[in-house]
Symmetry: C3
Subunit: 341 residues, 3 copies
């Protein structure tokens, strides 16, 4: 058989390295499309002039666009037979990606644990996105529940990786040259500096977007993520499942309204897709400031933020009395952003 | 509160200058997207070779795409609490915008008039789009009806700006270097020169486009216009309102069929969004030649055109016996185009 | 009348040359949009680095994207009054198209045959796509059934061109510099070489895409194909007809799964749009290896492939007992692809 059946749980070995296929050169086209598919307004990713005034050579591709490109390549090898995308950890954005860069992805299998039902197991991979110079532009850990091909196949030794519950500010990489000393708050859209945000503060980002089928499919294809659950209504007559990353990008771009100066994503601490998202849902977002830290760069502060996407329901209502996510919660993301001090 | 509540009527003062946020660098991506979202075929905006043969350094971004970029930036400061977009005047296209240019917008408040109900008022702004060299690429006057935050706030002195009912041909800027002497009518798609159009002549542009939700939202986001009326079906359960500029671009690009040589927009005299537009509407367009003028450039003539977009109904039927726009009329736009003589 | 009524059957003369309007410069924007509208993953068209490792100066625009650009220009002159798109033959891809190239199209009328009903006739044209240097980048023959303006107009002499039932491998142009000697199969996504495919082998490409209205309209506009049957629901209340080329691109990109190394299209032998396609259809694809041939380039083999798109039904079921296409078959395409040996 020449088509790709995807890997099953017993196809992974701890220590395996997977070189994912289909490298991609990004251009101004990907940037324009990101701004077409999401309400993206962070000035650093919109204007070459603004980016240069912040010490960068040009406006980079949005961090999450780069993430989606790197992630999309892993789908045929990691999640084609996945039952669930369980989590993210230790996501580090190591350098910006610019138009003209070519990205590819490599994953190392760092953990395996068969489930007690014997039919599925959890696979942990650490994925690294590399540019054309072979330099890492990001890395992150992701774990997914994968079906076994053969329920009778023996269970592998359990290896659960030791992952940080969240990155520390000292783990973050500040892009070379980044300098917010002359940051133009008027052009950026809001006056709030790093010091204006308090731990525990919550922000309702107010705006909402009702999702259309064409939009999420176009976005998902742009990242060359071709998992059929997102595209084929005969495969999922109950509705095409929206790629979780689409919700992440919607929530992040909606968060401009209140976090316009949380310009760059430097770390991805954790993420849960709490409930599935479908076309017709109206996505809104709220944030909570989880932590604040200075960085080695005197012009740059770091904010650790919880970003929550919902499809209705009141803001700031994350979990019920039973500790479970409210049914309207789509995403609970924990990340570090770089903000002018 | 860190999110932007928008400005209310009493937040404007005549003489105020507003520097709008989020500058944007445009690329071939924006051009390709404009041609994806609209049936755009004017050769000058499609081919670098054709543009060079007309004396320009390369194919510019479509004039209306540049307009939407400049306009989109003003939304958070001007029309977030607008009840209605009332009109445009004195729109001047001062120089073409090219891939690589970075645009930003500045508005001056030039008029204020509280309405007799005491709850709303009209705000006039003159907006200028600037490129990375600080040169003006366009300017236009727009007036909107804006809610008051507090109905008891005192009315400002009424200042109604003295606006030209329309620009004269002498007010138009012909782009430096533009030369239609060797214009290739076959490649442009139609044989009609400036002299072939008569004042009073009407043209039914024949073609129609039935609008989808995904299309107008993608277009509107591309211009970073994130007003929630266009995106959030929970905010407007009766239907997402389509950005008026989407209708302008649809009508202008549909007008290629009959006005293929009306290459460049040089002036925007007036514009009214006569009725709201929703997904499912089929937009068609017709034009009327309002005036003709020579320009200082012997190869370039100017046509003053009325461009009307409809969603059904017969062409050329603009107003009823009561003088009001017919219910099928979406747009009544008055502009100057540059045409080979 | 200034709008284009399109040509009718009696407007064509054998030997006529038609210079089609609206040249187009392509950029990274068109490439990104192709990857947004189709599940395109062939590595040569995704990565400049991969393309350079194959001896090309950069990643070209997808062959079918270039085809659609060339084809789109012919619509106003060839198929505006067409009743049916009858076939393709002798399609040669002569050189890759790169971002920055400007394409235009020229057609020669090579055949005419009035139908016995006297109301329509068949027109054969050979269309050539040219770049800014005047070099041919592709050529193909297409024939369409076109309405007569006047049923009483006399029939022209019948001229039916002598067309090859399919190109031979020796007719194919291998792009200058193309070298698959160091081809990276891991990055390309599949291990199968030219020699791994056997004549008669069939491949079910498994994946499917349910089409949305916004997607096919955006794609069709991108190629500046503005035939109203694709856009205007008031013109076709029974449903907007999807541009046949949209189905070709969907099928070709879905065929990545099993034919990831069928990198370049070198020849188009024949093609039939067996049944119309509408939004809501779920398109799947299967292929059959029709022939194999070496080429003058020792690193490059050629596969002649049948590519079939369906909207349901079992794979490999092309025609019924009556010899007619099954009602679920959308496309039957016969092409040559270049594959690493």
């Amino acid at each position: 058989m020449k088509t790709n059946p995807g890997r099953f749980f017993e196809d992974y070995r701890v220590g395996d390295t997977i070189h994912h296929a289909v490298p991609r050169t990004v251009s101004g086209g990907e940037r324009a499309l990101y701004h077409t598919l999401y309400p993206a307004r962070h000035a650093l990713y919109s204007s070459d002039e603004f980016a240069r005034a912040c010490g960068l050579p040009a406006s980079p591709l949005d961090d999450l666009a780069a993430f989606h490109v790197v992630f999309g390549k892993t789908v045929p090898d990691v999640s084609l037979n996945a039952v669930a995308n369980l989590g993210y950890a230790e996501g580090r954005f190591l350098q910006p990606v610019y138009p003209g860069d070519t990205l590819r992805s490599v994953s190392e299998v760092i953990g395996l644990k068969q489930n007690s039902n014997g039919k599925t197991g959890v696979v942990w991979v650490r994925t690294t996105g590399l540019n054309q110079k072979g330099e890492a532009v990001m890395s992150y850990v992701r774990w997914v529940m994968v079906r076994k091909r053969d329920a009778d196949a023996p269970a592998p030794d359990t290896v659960v990786p030791d992952l940080k519950p969240h990155l520390d500010a000292a783990d973050l990489t500040i892009p070379a040259g980044l300098d917010f000393s002359d940051y133009d708050f008027a052009l950026a859209g809001e006056p709030h500096r790093w010091g204006d945000y308090a731990v525990g503060e919550t922000i309702d980002h107010v705006d909402g977007v009702t999702i259309e089928e064409a939009e999420h499919m176009m976005a998902t294809r742009l990242w060359q993520n071709t998992a059929k659950v997102h595209f084929d209504l005969t495969f999922r007559p109950e509705g095409r499942l929206i790629y979780g990353g689409h919700v992440i990008s919607l929530a992040r771009t909606l968060s401009f309204n209140g976090l316009a100066n949380a310009q760059m994503i430097a770390g991805l601490n954790a993420g849960a897709h709490a409930n599935p998202c479908f076309a017709g849902d109206t996505v809104k977002a709220w944030s909570e400031v989880l932590d604040r830290a200075e960085t080695a760069n005197p012009s740059v502060g770091a904010l650790r933020l919880r970003l929550v996407a919902t499809k209705g329901g009141a803001p700031f209502d994350l979990r019920g009395a039973d500790g479970k996510y409210q049914p309207d919660v789509l995403l609970d993301l924990d990340y570090w952003a770089l903000v002018p001090r």
